[in-house]
Symmetry: C2
Subunit: 287 residues, 2 copies
């Protein structure tokens, strides 16, 4: 397997968010010759939307995605409407930033305002996701912004996302907007889907329908010490990244490779420049 | 949904293993009027196999499963042969104990003798599982012992089991011994499969083929603080246990409901009798 084109490297801002503000991250990417970024909405808000859009444009960065919208399920109509309103704002922000897509994390079981799960109705939550996604897609389609559903690992089914396999994400697209050219697609994050025996087939299926909007990489560590913030740098774990990249390539994906690492005890504690140079090297050697 | 028959309660010995030896657990179950047990091999060995078999027989307990065999993948032929030899011993022990099945955890990616994962070939590991399982089934069939493949949650794919969905377990049975009457079936543990959008259909599929050998219950806590040892008591988490039980019932499962809770920071720190009485109550009220 040959190394990936270094120009395809993008960095999800979460990877160095503990070290740097968003303007610092943009400067850092420029310094390291990295050409893609995926910002998070809280950091965009902190730096100012228009200011961020200008900085990103000036730096010549591709915005491989805005993180994130979604979180559709809620215990009542008011909560679901609030989610929809927030998601429309996210679409508008993605448009302003010139993002290739708005990344959607579905949301898990309905929670009350204090953030406590208040339902065990997983099938019902999945229906809320479908309904909310359909409604948001209408808006986003009008705004010219693509929505990328990101299936999350099953260990997040309760509290973060009840869309847990690429097959599920594909089924949602099949139902709501089967042709990816209509602005509904998927984000494939290896951390969430690497274990799936059906992964190759589902990537191919998504590719045939022009749905592969984003590709996120990192690694799965053994042992994994925390469910949320113990992701590994490419090469430090057990995911066969070149293999999955070859499936993405074969399915027609030509977009960037976005490194997204939540790592409270390791990478978030290191110097940001060290993290970025490691990302560059590992993208070349181990992805 | 009506309460389950209290006579169907079984206790996996791991639930109180931090408090009690296996003889103590057997006495405890008798004291609480609980009629099923699933012992672990290390505790059986510590108490002596024949001694344990006699105690269980004297107590009139149903052995809903022996934990566990499996762990098929290994980096070399010698390692796979060692696994096979150990698995044959596990079958023999299950026969001596009169277990309804030997529970199989497939094993994850191949590890060296120090327990370090030495391969990223997940598909290859799955082939080793199929081959090892086929070989073991021949032996177990001759010995009259049923093998129950237990799909483990995808978060264990790397280090514990690369069989991660009931669909995968069903596919293995389809290939190796399609009729459950031939001694190859599945153990459905809600902790591992509750998130699966395909669960109801796969339980029904397994039921039609007489493959539902065991049903394990506990709960998924939000938040989950540890990948391995933070399982919840029924009713304390987000799994819709009566719903999944209704799917098992509809699929023809008439076996016991085995409570299996690994809980380093909570239930393993409580008095064993408190744990057992809570299991009884929650089996009735929240399962």
């Amino acid at each position: 397997m040959s190394s990936p084109d270094p120009a395809l490297l993008s960095i999800n801002a979460a990877t160095v968010r503990a070290q740097w503000s968003l303007p610092d991250i943009i400067s850092g990417l420029t310094r390291h010759g990295i050409r893609g970024i995926a910002p998070w909405r809280d950091q965009v808000a902190a730096a100012g939307l228009d200011n961020t859009a200008r900085r990103i444009r000036d730096a010549g960065l591709v915005v491989t995605g805005l993180c994130r919208g979604g979180m559709f399920p809620a215990p009542d109509r008011e909560g679901r409407r609030a989610a929809h309103d927030d998601n429309r704002r996210a679409v508008d922000e993605a448009v302003t930033l010139g993002a290739q897509c708005l990344v959607l994390v579905a949301g898990g079981l309905p929670k009350d305002r204090a953030g406590r799960v208040v339902s065990r109705d997983l099938a019902g939550a999945r229906e809320m996701v479908r309904d909310g996604l359909g409604q948001l897609h209408e808006y986003a389609h009008g705004a010219g912004m693509r929505l990328a559903i990101e299936p999350l690992h099953p260990m997040y089914a309760a509290d973060r996302a009840c869309v847990n396999t690429l097959a599920q994400a594909n089924a949602l697209c099949d139902e709501l907007a089967p042709d990816g050219a209509d602005g509904l697609g998927v984000a494939v994050d290896v951390y969430h889907v690497w274990w799936d025996p059906d992964l190759r087939a589902q990537i191919a299926y998504a590719g045939e329908r022009n749905r592969l909007y984003a590709y996120h990489i990192c690694d799965w560590l053994v042992p994994t010490r925390d469910l949320l913030n113990d992701r590994g740098m490419m090469g430090d774990g057990v995911i066969d990244l070149p293999l999955i990249r070859s499936w993405m390539d074969a399915a027609g994906y030509r977009g960037m490779h976005e490194v997204e690492i939540f790592s409270a005890e390791n990478w978030w504690k290191r110097d940001g420049d060290d993290v970025l140079s490691t990302c560059r090297r590992r993208h070349a050697d181990a992805s």
